[in-house]
Symmetry: C2
Subunit: 378 residues, 2 copies
Amino acid sequence: MSVPGFSFDVLATTGRARAGLLTTPHGTVETPAFMPVGTVGTVKALDPAELRTAGVEMLLANAYHLHLRPGEDLIRALGGLHRFMGWDGPILTDSGGFQVFSLETMRTLDEDGVEFRSHVDGSRRRFTPESVIGLERALGADIIMQFDHVVPGQASHAVARDAAERSVRWLERCQTAFEATGIERRAPPQALFPIVQGGIYPDLRRASARSIATVGDWLGFGIGGLSVGEAKVDMYAMLDVLDAELPRDRPRYLMGVGFPDDLIAGIQRGVDLFDCVAPTRMGRNGTAFTSAGRVNIRRAEMRDDGEPLDPLCDCSTCGRFSRAYLRHLFAADEMLGPRLLSLHNVHFLVSLVRAARATLLAGDPIELNPSLSPERSP
Amino acid sequence: MSVPGFSFDVLATTGRARAGLLTTPHGTVETPAFMPVGTVGTVKALDPAELRTAGVEMLLANAYHLHLRPGEDLIRALGGLHRFMGWDGPILTDSGGFQVFSLETMRTLDEDGVEFRSHVDGSRRRFTPESVIGLERALGADIIMQFDHVVPGQASHAVARDAAERSVRWLERCQTAFEATGIERRAPPQALFPIVQGGIYPDLRRASARSIATVGDWLGFGIGGLSVGEAKVDMYAMLDVLDAELPRDRPRYLMGVGFPDDLIAGIQRGVDLFDCVAPTRMGRNGTAFTSAGRVNIRRAEMRDDGEPLDPLCDCSTCGRFSRAYLRHLFAADEMLGPRLLSLHNVHFLVSLVRAARATLLAGDPIELNPSLSPERSP
């Protein structure tokens, strides 16, 4: 299958891990790649120019959040999401499946779609496979995800099976809507990615991947419904199962995953794309990833610490500011604090993945620095 | 009078307005200059690198705020304020006189000093001329202001006179403390500036300036107690009075002033340095200075406005983002909104003052674009 503007090349492999190059209409991404999350069209606290400097090549944005505010019609009228948010590189939009099935507010599900209340203003909304494709078409991201049915990590086999099978039926409707809207569009081409579901059950994951293959030929694959409360060992087992099921010449995107140890574990198991809000969310709360484990900058012992957050880091935060200064910014509730820690965390994850890529290109196996395991964190 | 590292050269004059060059141990500042305010060691929402790009050459920081949090001893131990906040250019510290006399919390004044409660933790604190000089020595700014007695713009002649005379007595004590601490210091030299007080009374302003001249020879002069509630016509009248009293070969710093029309009025009346929290405070609240007057980005009509904040502005906000996007950021309470507007506002004021300087160097008179008058603002 070939779509103008899109390609994926695997440049090197070590075991199941791969280094590749993903090309989209808005540029090329070196894989494995970590995508920061620009929920409502901004990676919280950060400027697109800073993201570039930190080595970010591709962003994720949430169709759900942008639909509620400011709305896809406005974004389309203003030239699409890339122009709206001032990011001319590749963008991927998540479909909103994760959000509508995670909502605290009441929602009702039927075969046609999901009705839910907006968390912004309480208004009633309805997402269907067709409406979500219309939404993602309007936003204009390079890669758009199917609308799927996501269940918690503790879901039973029966619940996970129902959701996985519904996700495949919705994929067919997404594809039909995607092709229908493609005909009338003059905008740059988009790629629709299916999402493999199936909870923590190998048979369901296998069935999901095989059903997806019968629906069409895809430029890449999302692996959803992981990192949603299940044990890490289960997540890794699902990646092991899917490695044999998904075509090796297409990118694999492990959705919502982005802690350092999970990135390494994912790369080792053949994953090419990741996204997670962790670096910015934790940064806003004063927690930094470092080469020596997590650091909480609010702790009292940081008060007079003249060292950088991570002496081994070459980001612009660590090159200029002491832990004492960063702690002061958080203590005084100054916006620069969340900014500098978010920037550091994004840089840290991007650098971690880049280093893994360099290792793969050199033909070496990927290993996790033990200090990056959360169990080691202070 | 000559102090190593400091000089001031007037390069061009038109009427009373001057273009000059102020040299400090941390670099040279083209005057007239606008200093953004880094209250607690950060210009709110902005990174030092952004300030440089916006054309900022010198910052102000508040000794009062830094004393309360994180404390001058910590900053000195970490190498001084420049290093602490990652700004290697010139810094001026305000003495805290304005803050302690503006506090809502109880304070008691006697000839020795002022006792007040910390707005951070309610603890009792005492500022005297000697303690404030010790504080400003520890911070290590290039220019440090005397501890003064500030009264509101509506203060009576008797109240303003009492405060102005006390400020001169405190100046003598500041000078003694400054010279005593200078002997033991190995740090870069600092310049102590006196502050002319006297409310809106020409005779008091004249007397204050003349008394200050009898206390010592100064590298520059602060003009305080203005823009504190008095009528603009009174502020301008005081600048007219002082122009004849202050030596023309020294820089004049109009404290706390920084709206566009006041900057132009000040430059026309011989002022060389300005500071104000307005660009960042207003930016955080969603208001932008523009060449067509003030713009409130939160207004409903901005919702689908694809134009930049100010089409005539060359800042990085206006070069990349639409009003609609900026409004969206504020509506969604995203940190990037305050960042981008603060940056634009700082750039706007710095550019305004730079343009005035270029006009003076060309030998032309300074005139205010009428749209910058607040009466014209929408």
